[in-house]
Amino acid sequence: MTDFSKLNISSALLGLKKKDFKSVELTEYFINQINKKEKLNCFITKTFDKAIDMAKKSDEKIIKNRELGSLEGIPIGMKDLFCTKDIRTTAGSKILDSFIPFYESTVSQNLWNSGAVLLGKTNMDEFAMGSANTTSFFGNVINPLKSKNNDKDLVPGGSSGGSASSVAAGLCLAATGSDTGGSIRQPASFCGLVGLKPTYGRCSRFGMVAFASSLDQAGPITLTVEDSARMLQSMVSYDFKDSTSSKKKMENLLKYKKYDLKGKRVGVPKEYLLEGLNPEIKKAWDLGISWFESAGSEIVEISLPNTESALPTYYVIAPAEASANLARYDGIRYGFRAEEKSDLTQLYEETRAQGFGKEVKRRLMIGTYVLSAGYYDAYYLKALKVRKLISDDFSKAFERCDLILTPTTPNVAFPIGEKQTDPVEMYLNDVLTVPASLAGLPAISISACLNSESLPIGLQIIGKPFEESSILSAASIIEDSRGF
């Protein structure tokens, strides 16, 4: 009898192939676990009947050994901003509380085509705006991990908090996330997982609820590096329905195992040694550096001089794009509509005031302000120029190195309720993940070690554009060296 709690995607695929168990049995196991761990609040919508149906179909294919997908029979969670046909999709917002799409996002369709099984839609910060999964209309998500020093509930990170928490708690084998400024990497780091944001353009944004379109990218949250490669391989495709979708062919990602780190130059940016960087995280970073040295890589100190400007730049560009993207929520065509409607303007204003949460409103206000007449040049245009400088920093750095190694977050998972009062302090969670987002680069976070409270510390590897396999390979060095 297989112990389902010990499985990952790769071992589950093997077990299914060898007919040690059926996808239906595996799916039932996860349904049971989701029900048992209801308290973590990982799912906004559960799709158990559909899951069983999908698993049965996978089992039939496995028996006939025909038309098998690369993820055939693998139960996963889907972040609730990927539109799923005939299944409620909320983006964690009251304003989409009742929204049932009549189309499927390209990323989710790709996963179903590969045979993945949908357990449910995972909880998230409202419109992906948050770093602690505390802004969801459907309540905060709890991290299954705890400090060994106390019993406080910790945040799972965000915005893909439900996805990370569900994978860490063993409620599914993997989950999708989306990353605008760190929303895959940061929760993966807080929950001790592998989170990958591919190069901008790799995954189609069609059917993804938009936050900041020049930054949004889908990616997987998984238990292992190999699982990350398997998930991403299925998620990626060229899609004419997304005008920024890349036509670059994706190589077989499992070949990451053959990419030799020997002689490769690993860049360590001195500017990431922030004031206030937790000393244990600094130690983990040094440990990571030593692992790459042991693997035969050359460590080079690099400079990304505009790092300090990345976060303020992000907090101009992302809200600006959000204020345009979220203009569509008007209470007319779909979603929540306020009762007050003496005239059209009142209907809009009441619908949006009642339908959006506090953090979303804050960002809509910022975004509207920086785009408004008289402030556009000073804020928005300025931020676009600084974005160019940040991107150029990376291009220059990559002349001297092949990969960049940094910590993922300045701190580990913190108790729910802390760091929430001051928005600027809250935004600092993303300080190490935002620069790669602004430059559109692929980046992965992987747990490197545990701190003295036994909470995971993640390291981030940033790669050159479209070099997902090299960051997977670098992450596997950490996975092999960390000893767990």
């Binding site: 065509r333 003496s342 804050r362 910022i366 400088l389 559109g440």
Partner: protein, 95 residues
């Protein structure tokens, strides 16, 4: 650049968000706090730097101007909070 209550009112109007007096005060403080922090950017020298509008280097493809999706009226209205005779319903806008 600090913003006052009347700016908050104006921006809220532009964003189509109804804001009550208490929220207005909170938003004013929060926005000023955020903008003060964002103002760091003013010190960065961006002389002769072109704004970066996209990270993509690939040309955006053109497609033929033909109908590709076949959505019916019923589908399009399926999520409408209020509908009538195949249309979305809005408050009266023409006197």
């Amino acid at each position: 650049m600090s913003i006052d209550n009347s700016t908050v009112k104006k921006v809220a109007k532009l964003a189509r968000l109804k804001v009550d007096a208490k929220e207005e005060q909170n938003l004013k403080d929060e926005l000023n706090n955020i903008l003060e922090w964002v103002d760091k950017l003013q010190k960065v020298d961006t002389e002769n730097i072109a704004p970066m509008l996209s990270v993509s280097n690939e040309p955006m493809p053109m497609r033929e101007d033909i109908v590709t999706s076949k959505l019916d009226n019923k589908q399009i209205l399926s999520n409408a909070p209020e509908k009538k005779a195949g249309f979305f319903v809005v408050p009266k806008v023409v006197e």
